[in-house]
Structures are given as structure tokens and as C-alpha cells.
């Protein structure tokens, strides 16, 4: 344990940020950073506390609150562009939260390149999804509440990425968890939605425990949980502690980002309304784990074992998610598997250290664009198909829903990594970095790319191509423009987002370097060869999918499938695993504890109580009701008192 106050003092004086950037006190426009959080928080307060009075304008209030936050984010971003490369970090101390027993927590915000990227993603995509929801939720009588929850989510997510202290981050962390819970179970009249919400809540508790342990460990080691003190003192801490903190943070990240072994809740979370799946369970909240790892770069840099664990978790999840995605007939669940897989990519990249942090964030941003695009596209399809999600009942929708088809196709091309769509740039960087680190990682990433191409092609073909398998009387209709406009915007971002982030506004990697640090890697093969190899793998995946779903007619009943398909349909036995490894022993443990409680603890307590009660009943008989016996008792008492008084003097 290195925690001493002298080291704290020196830490404050140096206050070196990781990557060499020093955060300065926010002045001018930056001192208004808090408005980012305030707008949606106010929106949520108005909508959730205002009650039915705000029913009619609820959706507008929510959208405006989110959009204002986006405008504020753009203003800050433009201002930040005007600063020097390594002078873009600002801290804003709002107030002292508490200061007790040497543990001081300031409610303070940190606005730097990393949080800026997230602010734009959250408020930008978030606002688009607010707009989309106006149409999607039009006929829902609880639409106001829905927008209130969405605003609450945006506010909490912004607090998460803007916090300058792990404890403040934790508030946002729990806030998004709450919003996620409320929105997954938004249609609470459906038992499946209620169960899914509960499952997400419970699984996330496991991850949150990791967060609690991480903060507690920081407190023990550094005496503080603020970024500046923790990062500045990380070098002085023992590797053992740093590894422990890294693993705790990883556990937290696994819960929030649906990584192995806490992945099981995400697929069920698709019970929520589709905009929620797009915003929370694809674009933003589930990437919080990646943010956490990248933000904690200073710790992971010094804890290689923890980093390796991050890579392994990422690699396993990326393959698992992809395989699950191949077998799902529910369009949202197929996309959810894909989300798991893509976040696995990000985790893998983040685990590679300074060589991968920036790529993780890069992929996170492009994924935010194209995955939100595709989820909203899926929502649009459902909107036109009376909420049908089974792809076996879709087919040939490209004619009926041209805009949805076109935008979805952009997202499809982006995710499988066809140049020059967004995903190509970001995913390719991760595959490069993985190969540079280790052949095994590289092959996992490459294989993942191939499987991604397969399942996304499958989704595409089953939904928009082939024979029409829908049976409803009136043909599916295209969604209203309030829904298609956000789709178009996101489709454009899916096309140009990757190249744009790399070349248009300056290199995203360079932009993040002051926060994440930078490391060059040497590829084991020429870059051109690797790019070709990747593209060939992707094309192979597409071809196999075409062979299976494009040339042959798609059966409407579910074929038996091979063992792997069966396993993938059952989420690779994730639930069975949880049940066998966690639930059953947990139940057994609680049962044994209840037994011990009943027989042991209660036995002792009840035994004592029974004894006292028995004594009470005995003594009660003394109270006969007869004055003569009372008088006799008193007389004996008199005798006792007098004898006692006299006896004291005897010795």
C-alpha cells in the first residue's frame, strides 16, 4: 500500500495526465461544460415529475433537451479545435461532494479529447434517435415517460464520460444502468420484458460489484478515486494492486458491455423498444466498458496481465457474439449478437494498450453510427410489419421499403468492412494491431470479420431479398419521414464516418493521442497483404451466406440445424452456464445459509427468548392477586433489606 498523504501532495503538484497532457482549470466556454448534462437532466425532471400535464409536448421537450446538449457539444468541440494539440483537457470543479476521513470527492468534470468524442456520439446519435422515436412511439400512450427515460439516460451517460473521479463516474454508471433497466422493461405488461429487465439488472449488479471493488482498491492504494491522483500515482503502486484494479475494472466493463462471461443479458434486452436497442444497447451504453478501459489506460499500461485478460475477454466475446448472430432468426437478436461481437473487437483493441486504445475508440464511434443505423432500420422494418421480428417471415422488403433498405445497406457495407465504408477503416486498424501483437489475436479478429460478413449478409438477404414470405393483407409500408430522416443521416455517417474521422477533421488517432498515448507496431507481413487477406475473408463470408440464403429459398419453419447452430440459437448456452455455475450454487448457498440461520442463529436467539419467556411465566406466578401473599413478599423483602444493611458492617 502506497497510500500516504505526502504522495498525494506531490501528485497534486505534478498532476501529470496520461499521455503527457496536463488538464487545466476550465475557463470561458469550457466552464459551461456542465450544461451538457444539465439540459437532458432538466428534460428528464420536467417529463418525469411533470406528470400528465406534459403528455402532449413530452416528445418535443425530450428532443429539444437532447438537441440543445448536442449543440453545446458542437460548440465545445469547435472551441477545442482551436486549442493546441496537447492543450485540450479541461477540468471543471463544481463543488465538494464530501470530505471525510481523508477521502475527498469533488464533483468535477473532465472534458478532453476522449470525452469530447463520446459527448458528440451520445448527443448526436442520441438526438437522432429522439427524433426517430417521435415517430416510432407515436401510438404509445406512455410516450412522455419514454422520452423522460431517454433524457435521463443521456444525462447519466454524459456524466459517465465527463466525470473526473471514478466515484462520480460510478453515479453515471448506475444512472445508465437504471435507465437501461427502465427502458428494457418499458413494456412492462409483457412478462418477457419484465424478466429481461430484471435479468439485465441482476447481471449488471455483478459488474457493478467489480466497480465498487475497483474504487475501494483505489481508495486503499491511492487514498483517492480522482483520475488525476490515481493516474499520477499509478507508477508508485505495486503491480499486484494495479492488476487487481485492472481486473476489477474489467469485471465492471464486462457487465456493462455484455462481454463474456456477463454477456447473457444483452440478447434478452432486445425486449425494449427498438430505439432503446439502438441508443443504449448498441451505440452508447454498452460501449461504456470500452470507455472505462481506455480511460484507465494509465492503470492498464502498468498491468500487462490485466491487459491480457481484456484481450482474451474481447477475443472470446467477438467470436461468441458472431456465432450467436449467425443462428438467430429474430432480426434484433441477430443485431444484438453482432453488437456483442463488435464490442469484443473494441475490447480486444483496448487490451492491446497504447497501440490499440485509439483504434478501440475509433471503431466505437463508427460502430455507433452504423449499428444505430441498422437497429433503427430494423425498427423501421418492424414498424411496417406490425412488430414482426422473425426474419423468416420477411423477404423482398427492398421494394416495399426503399429508404429503409438503402440506409440499412449502407450500415451493412460498413459493418462487414467494405472500403470505403466506415467500418473498413476502423476494423482494419484493429485487425492490424491484433496481428502486430500476436498471431492468435490476429486470426481471431480475422475470423470474426469473416463470420460478421456471413451473418450480416444473412440478415440482409433474409430481410430485403428473396421471396416475400409475409402474409399480412396490406403490404408493408415505408416509415414516415420523421423516422427515415434520422436513418438517412446515420446512413451518411456510416458511409463517410470512417474516412471522415481519419482524414476530414484530422486524424482521430492523433486527436486522441494526448489522452491514450501512442505506440507504433510492426506488422509481421506487408500491410497490403493483410488488407487483401481481410477483404478475401469478408468476401468468403458473403459468398457462403449467399450460397446458403441467396440462391436457395428460405424455409419458413426453423430447420433442425447442426449442433453448433443449435448451441448458437441458445446463446451458446450462456444462460445454462449461468444457471449451472452461478444460480444453482447460489441457491444452494442461500438455502444452506437459511438453514444455518434457522437452526443456528435463530436457535440461539429463540432459545434465549424462550428461556427468558419461561422465566417470565415463572415469575408471573408470583403475582397471585392475594394481598396476603404480597404482604408476605414485602415482609420478606423488609427482612432481606435490614439483614443486608446489617451484614455490610459485619466483616
Amino acid at each position: 500500500m502506497i497510500s500516504t498523504y505526502s504522495t498525494l501532495a506531490t501528485a497534486v503538484s505534478t498532476q501529470a495526465e496520461h499521455g503527457g497532457q496536463v488538464a487545466v482549470e476550465a475557463t470561458g466556454i469550457y466552464s459551461w461544460t456542465w450544461l451538457l448534462i444539465a439540459f437532458p437532466l432538466l428534460g428528464a425532471a420536467v417529463l418525469l415529475l411533470g406528470g400528465r400535464r406534459t403528455d402532449r409536448i413530452g416528445h418535443l421537450v425530450g428532443t429539444v433537451a437532447s438537441s440543445l446538449s448536442f449543440v453545446m457539444g458542437v460548440v465545445l468541440f469547435v472551441a477545442m479545435l482551436g486549442e493546441g494539440d496537447a492543450e485540450r483537457a479541461f477540468t471543471l470543479d463544481l463543488w465538494e461532494w464530501f470530505n471525510a476521513g481523508g477521502y475527498q470527492v469533488e464533483v468535477s468534470l473532465l472534458l478532453d479529447q476522449l470525452s469530447m468524442a463520446f459527448v458528440l456520439l451520445i448527443t448526436g446519435v442520441g438526438s437522432l434517435i429522439h427524433v426517430y422515436s417521435i415517430g416510432y412511439m407515436e401510438h404509445d400512450e406512455r410516450r412522455r415517460r419514454f422520452f423522460g427515460y431517454l433524457n435521463l439516460f443521456v444525462a447519466a451517460m454524459l456524466l459517465l464520460v465527463l466525470a473526473a473521479d471514478y466515484l462520480i463516474l460510478f453515479i453515471g454508471w448506475e444512472g445508465v444502468g437504471l435507465a437501461s433497466y427502465l427502458l428494457i422493461g418499458f413494456w412492462q405488461h409483457k412478462p418477457s420484458a419484465a424478466v429481461a429487465a430484471k435479468k439485465a439488472f441482476v447481471v449488471n449488479r455483478v459488474g457493478d460489484m467489480g466497480m465498487v471493488l475497483a474504487v475501494a482498491s483505489m481508495l486503499a492504494v491511492f487514498g483517492s478515486s480522482s483520475y488525476s491522483l490515481v493516474f499520477a500515482n499509478a507508477e508508485n503502486a505495486s503491480t499486484g494492486w494495479l492488476t487487481a484494479i485492472g481486473l476489477f475494472l474489467l469485471l465492471a466493463a464486462c457487465g456493462k458491455s455484455a462481454q463474456f462471461p456477463l454477456q447473457s443479458w444483452l440478447l434478452d434486452a432486445m425486449e425494449g423498444p427498438t430505439p432503446v436497442s439502438a441508443l443504449i444497447h448498441a451505440a452508447t451504453m454498452v460501449t461504456a466498458g470500452v470507455y472505462l478501459v481506455v480511460r484507465s489506460a494509465a492503470i492498464y499500461d502498468l498491468a500487462p496481465d490485466a491487459r491480457t485478460a481484456v484481450v482474451i475477454v474481447g477475443a472470446i466475446t467477438l467470436l461468441m457474439g458472431a456465432i450467436i448472430g449467425c443462428a438467430k432468426d429474430d432480426i434484433k437478436k441477430a443485431l444484438a449478437g453482432s453488437t456483442m461481437s463488435q464490442i469484443g473487437y473494441m475490447m480486444l483493441a483496448a487490451g492491446l494498450g497504447p497501440a490499440g486504445y485509439a483504434f478501440a475508440i475509433f471503431h466505437l464511434l463508427t460502430h455507433g453510427f452504423f449499428k444505430a443505423n441498422m437497429f433503427l432500420g430494423a425498427g423501421s422494418v418492424m414498424h411496417g410489419m406490425n412488430d414482426e421480428v422473425d426474419m423468416r417471415k420477411f423477404g423482398g422488403l427492398r421494394v416495399a421499403m426503399p429508404v429503409t433498405f438503402a440506409t440499412f445497406a449502407m450500415g451493412y457495407l460498413a459493418i462487414i468492412g467494405i472500403p470505403p465504408f466506415a467500418g473498413y477503416f476502423s476494423k482494419d486498424r484493429i485487425i492490424e494491431a491484433a496481428f502486430a501483437e500476436n498471431w492468435v489475436y490476429g486470426i481471431c479478429a480475422l475470423l470474426g470479420a469473416g463470420i460478421t460478413a456471413f451473418y450480416m449478409t444473412r440478415v440482409m438477404l433474409m430481410t430485403f431479398f428473396g421471396a416475400r414470405r409475409w402474409k399480412q393483407s396490406e403490404p408493408p409500408h415505408e416509415s414516415p419521414s420523421v423516422m427515415t430522416v434520422p436513418l438517412v443521416v446515420l446512413a451518411v455517417l456510416s458511409v463517410v464516418g470512417g474516412a471522415g474521422l481519419l482524414y476530414l477533421t484530422g486524424d482521430i488517432v492523433q486527436w486522441l493521442a494526448p489522452v491514450t498515448g501512442e505506440a507504433h507496431h510492426d506488422l509481421p507481413m506487408p500491410l497490403a497483404l493483410l488488407v487483401t487477406l481481410t477483404l478475401l475473408t469478408v468476401l468468403a463470408g458473403v459468398a457462403v451466406a449467399w450460397g446458403m440464403y441467396g440462391r436457395k429459398a428460405i424455409r419458413e419453419d426453423v430447420p433442425a440445424g447442426n449442433p453448433l447452430t443449435v448451441a448458437a440459437r441458445r446463446d451458446l448456452y450462456g444462460d445454462a452456464f449461468n444457471e449451472a455455475v452461478l444460480m444453482r450454487p447460489g441457491q444452494y448457498l442461500t438455502r444452506s445459509l437459511v438453514y444455518v440461520e434457522n437452526r443456528g442463529v435463530d436457535g440461539a436467539v429463540v432459545g434465549t427468548a424462550t428461556a427468558v419467556g419461561g422465566l417470565s411465566s415463572r415469575l408471573r406466578r408470583w403475582q397471585t392477586g392475594f394481598v396476603r401473599s404480597y404482604a408476605l413478599t414485602m415482609f420478606a423483602g423488609v427482612g432481606f433489606v435490614v439483614v443486608a444493611m446489617l451484614l455490610v458492617r459485619l466483616p
Binding site: Q623, V642, L646
Partner: protein, 508 residues
Amino acid sequence: MTAPTLEYAELAPLITVFGAAVIGVLIEAFVPRRARHTVQVVLALLALVASLVQVIALAGTEVVAAVGAVVIDGPALFLQGTILVLSIISIAFFAERKLEAGGDAFAPAASSLPGSDEERVLVRERRLQTEIYPLMLFAVAGMMLFPAANDLLIMFIALEVLSLPLYLMCGMARRRRLLSHEAALKYFLLGAFSSAVFLFGSAFVYGFAGSLRFSEISTALTTEIGKEGLLLSGVGLMAVGLLFKVGAVPFHAWTPDVYQGAPTPVTAFMAACTKLAAFGAMVRLFYVAFGGVRSDWQPMLWAVAIATMVVGAVVALTQTDIKRMLAYSSIAHAGFVLTALVAADQTATAAILFYLATYGIATLGAFAVVTLVRDSGGEATHLSKWAGLGKRSPIVAGTFALFLLAFAGIPMTSGFVGKLSVFAAAIDGGATPLVIVGVLASAVAAFFYVRVIVLMFFSAPAEEGPTVAVPSVWTTVGISLGAAATLLLGLVPGPLLDLAQQAAVFVR
């Protein structure tokens, strides 16, 4: 022989109450029946308030008055003031006429046979028995004199003046008269027995010291050598008389029967005020007169305190009648006060004064709540009938729960501060083992207090359970004052603690 001088100014509070009591008797004789109730209540209230004002005006006085027979000092004035406040609230409960249709809690004529024709006529005529007010004023006057007595004879007289009216008042219940008569008779017989023991002890002490004055007895402790047997027997016998009044084990047997049988307003008055007066007298006697032989009486009081706490708390567990439960609870509380009494110093006196004030007010309130919960047979005192009361009358049940929490000594209530201060005083006085027993007894006691709360709030309401009567403004104000004081003294005990600390010096 010169006529004794009386310090009328300092004795004015006593004289006011005594005078009003005598006038009350005259009112019974001369005022027409219809006006009597109003006149008696107004007179009693006026006398008590006037007396209270005089006590407040006398604050800080330290005088040995009436040729050395009475002392007006801090503890005396503090207790007199507290007794007066509690009596004023008690008058409010006595005057309640809304709960019993057309009457108060007292029989129209205590001598008439229950259910006889004579009684039926009296009830129909809505006859009220107004003698209760002068009786109560006599009792209050006795209680005020008791802790101020500085002389063995005056102390005995005060004891009798406060006791005799109480014996009568206990037998006046409108409902369940036989139980009430039985209680009165038991209280009288045992009270007479204990008074005799007390008088016997006084004679022994006089035989030892050759004087009735406390100060002279105190001096004699060091000068008279060789007659310790006389002294110690005397101290023991006098202790018995006082321990009987506070309800300490093994002189407690009357408490549950009398508390249960007496009309509940009388129980409230008696439980709160008698205990105050008796402890006040006891503290003065043992500190001022017998302070020099404390090492002789301390072991005996240790034993009594332990027995009192244990028996009070344990036997209360199996009580099924709410009034009996509160009676045993009062026994346990007497034990808690005794732990501080053993310490015998100024801190202990202050702690006892504070404890008595807070306990008195909470007790008044708790018994007053009991008068509200009624069924066809009058007050529904069986615990089973209180099940689910919180669901039907949350305010009444909540108030009662507050008093119970205060008795249990839960923080934020006056009971916590009181218990803390007596235990702290006992530890300072070297009685740590007593405090350990006290804390264990408190834990046992907490069980039966909380059990009632659980019963009220978490049980299904009893079929055909009692109703909560809506009282008149008298009782409402009284209970509200009790609840407010209980809460306030738990939150801001500072001022009263300071007052008790300042008042805790005896004049010899």
C-alpha cells in the same frame, strides 16, 4: 416558647395547592351540583398554574424554611415544577367527558353497587363525582411537599398526604368497579403496611440521632459511635417505605394490580407523579441525611436495582394487558433510576431529575392513549385487541409507538437521553456492573415495546376490534403535549439537561 416563623413567600406554591384543595372541599358543600364540575376544574387548573408560576419565580432559591422542616432548593423546585406540569396535563385527562357518553372516567358515586338501581339513576342523571379534584389537589400538595421535606416527620406526613387521596381515587372507576375497588383496597393495605415500616425506620433513626432533622442526622453519623445497628436498621426500614412507593422489587407487587384496576387517568397521574415525588424524597433522604453511610446502603440498593430491572423487564414479556405491561415497564424504569441513585453525586441527581421528567411525561401520554382505544366494555386493554390499530388509526397508533420507543430508549426520543444520562452517571459512580444489567434489561424491555408496535402496524386488525374514540380538546392537547415533549427532549435535550444540572444541588 416562641411561635415558629414561616417563610410564606418560599412556601407559597405549597400553600396555594393546599389552600385550593381545602376550598375544593368547601365547594362540594356549597356550590350547586350543576356548576360544581366547572368550578372544580377551573379552580384546580388555576391553583396548579398559579403554583407553577410561583415555582418558576422561585427558581434559584435556596432556603431552609419552616424552622428547618422544609427545604426549598434546586431539586425540590425542579420536582415541584415537573409535578405541577404533569398534574395540569392530568387535570385535562380527568376532565375528559367525551369518551364515556355523558360522563367521565369516574363512577358517579363510588359507594353505590355496580349495576344497582341507584347507580342507574345516577348515570341517567349524568351525575359527576367532583370530589376527585380536591382529592387530587391534596395528593399533588403531598407530592410537592415530599421531596422538599427536610425532617423525618414532615416526610412521613407528606407521604400520607399524597397516599391517602390516591387510595380513594383508585377505587373510583366508572367501568369494572370491582377491579377498581380491589385495587384501592390492595393499595391501601400494602401502603399502610409500608408506611408503618417507614415510620418504624424513622423511629430507629431518631433513636440513633436524637433528632428528626436531616442535617442533624447527617452530623450524628460521625459523632454517634456504637449505635450502628439502630441506624442501619432504620435506614433499611425507611428505604423499604420509599422503595414501595417507587415500585421497586420486592415491594412492587401492588403496582400491576393497582395500575390495572384504577381509572386510567388516575393511573397516568399516579404512575407519573408518585414516582417523581418518591424518588425526589429518596434522593434527598439518602444523599442529605444518610450520605455519610453510603457504603452501607449502596450494596442493598445494588441488589434491589438489579432485581427491579430484571423482574420488571422479564415479567412484562408475558403480560397480555396493556396497562399491566405498562405497570411492569414502570417497575423496570424504577430500576434504571435506582442505578443512578446508587452513584450518589451531583451528576446522578441531575440525571435522575431529567429522567423522571421525561419518563413522567411519556407515561402520562401513553396511559392517555390507552383511554382512547375502546370497545363496548370500556377501554380495550387486552393486547390482542390492539392488533392492526395502526391501519385503522395511524395517528393514535403512531403516537403510542412514539411513547413506546421513548420507553425503550430509542434515539431521537427523550427516553434515550434519559437512559443515557442515568447509565452514564452510574458508570461515573462506579456501578458499571449495574449498567450492564441495565442494558440487558433494556434489550429485553425493547422486545415487548416493539412487539406492541409490530402488533399495531403489521398484524391484521382484530375482528370486531375496538374503535378509537375521538376525545375532546382536553385529551387531545394533553397527548399532543406529551408527544411533542417526548420528541423535542429527544432532539434538543440540552436546555432541560442544563436546568437539571443547575438544580441538582441540595441545601443541607
